[in-house]
Subunit: 300 residues, 2 copies
């Protein structure tokens, strides 16, 4: 009755996956923020841990989707009884850094049933009445799910700091509040992966100009984007402070050079893949007698 | 500055898309439930409106993704100011009818930022305290979004009817409550597309057996699935009644023969595509002076 004993993709891409296996570990290690990391020293056009070109990167991205899919399905299968592990992927970056492309090309390659994606905009009236982590807690992934945050509580130490949206004493306190919060989240079984997409100011200018040049991109442009751009250095400082203060053992930051979109997408995929491999969720055992159910089904 | 004036896929698949264009209109028309429709007369292995084979269907599915993606992006772009049109795709079907495959292969091909997917399970304690449409209203898509329901309020006239979960007078009243509700939803700018995936009992048996045969599928199996299967005829009757009573001008039902997964996926994609074409959302105009912003950007 079994129509196919193994998935089509299991065999044919073994070689590619093995290759991409080493790649995942290497990229994950190289991009992980270590003490003393300096954002200003990282070339946004570099491709740490990867020596290939764009075409090969796109092939690797496609070739890794099957393994990512199986690992995601195992995670999901283990979460079905309402307990078990989950993953939270936090994506931060300046305007035009490619967050949307990560959503489309990396997150979008995963079964949507196993993903809960939340885009955090400026807090609304109700959210502003609550502590800054209130809306974040509500969006945490359930067991078995991969939660993805497009922007996050880090905006509360980025734009809130740069724009003086709250008193300095308030945002200063938030770093340790975030660490305590994230510790409690990981203690409850959620693997947190934090990614900053790092572009440089020239690249941003080119990308904003493209939005102005193309009629089908106008809707993505907001004159306020240029106001934000004028605070570039203050934002870089705020990012550096966040990386310094909130890179912890339980919730590491990865800074991904993102001038080359194809590298950034491959890198984020490989980091996610590496964490899912480490979680190594097995297929759950049957909580019924398989032969007995086969006999029941046969008779039905 | 514009790196690419047109999308890679714009040109090369014109011919395929044109072909798939006629296909979308034809499949949509053929599968739409008309007065007098009889579920029991529809061959679940048939492929209405499509004469090709599996390989060609998979090619068409892939080739239509670019057009679907652009139409979805236009919809999304128009919803950004918090008003405008949205789409709601409701997927119903017996266990193993392929709802998950539609989520992975059709919904999964759309940018996850533009999709809100809700899987409705048996109502929890809080949901049971409210009228049956309460949890449905909460999950309706925001402007610009494609909402997808994996099961829906139709369970309240399917399992609720077959299993006598509520008195007969209660579920009998629900058909007109659903019609009133859906009318108000469409009046508020949401295009509703309702799909029933139609398999036959033999196909279900084979698919359940596959879940029992494969260790990596055990987690999807529940002994209760066989109990439900034993009520097959009652479910078919309940589906027929729902189709009879809730196929309206504002919210049509499509019954998709689903013994062949590749046909069902192509058909659901083409129906969604056809509706997005009919909505025909333009790229929004700029609400700023493009040349002025270019000058500001250049100077920044």
């Amino acid at each position: 009755m079994a129509k196919k004993k193994t998935k089509k993709s299991d065999k044919k891409s073994d070689k590619q996956l093995k290759k991409s296996g080493d790649l995942a570990a290497e990229i994950t290690e190289k991009l992980c923020v270590a003490p003393g990391f300096e954002l200003s020293s990282l070339d946004a056009s570099s491709t740490p841990g990867y020596k290939g070109d764009k075409a090969e990167a796109e092939e690797l991205l496609a070739a890794s989707a099957a393994e990512l899919g199986e690992l995601q399905e195992r995670l999901y299968a283990n979460g079905r009884d309402g307990d078990g592990t989950s993953v939270l992927l936090v994506i931060q970056g300046m305007d035009t850094s490619g967050k949307g492309g990560i959503m489309r090309h990396v997150v979008g390659s995963v079964d949507p049933q196993g993903v809960s994606l939340t885009s955090f905009k400026a807090p609304n009236a109700e959210e502003r009445k609550h502590p800054f982590l209130w809306r974040i807690r509500k969006a945490l992934p359930k067991p078995g799910m991969i939660g993805v945050f497009d922007r996050s509580h880090y905006e509360d130490v980025l734009i809130a700091r740069v724009r003086n949206l709250v008193p300095a004493t308030t945002w200063q306190r938030r770093y340790s509040q975030i660490n305590t919060f994230e510790k409690s989240v990981t203690d409850n079984g959620t693997r947190i992966i934090k990614v900053m997409l790092h572009i440089d100011a020239d690249e941003q200018k080119a990308r904003l100009m493209e939005r102005l040049d193309r009629r089908d991109k106008w809707w993505k442009f907001n004159p306020g984007d240029i106001d934000e751009r004028e605070l570039w250095d203050a934002y870089q400082e705020a990012y550096q402070a966040a990386l310094d203060k909130t890179s912890t053992d339980s919730a590491a930051w990865y800074v991904v050079p993102a001038n080359r979109k194809w590298y950034a997408r491959l890198a984020v995929q490989q980091i996610l893949l590496q964490h899912l491999r480490e979680l190594d969720q097995p297929w759950p055992d049957a909580d019924f007698d398989v032969e007995e159910q086969k006999a029941r089904l046969e008779a039905s």
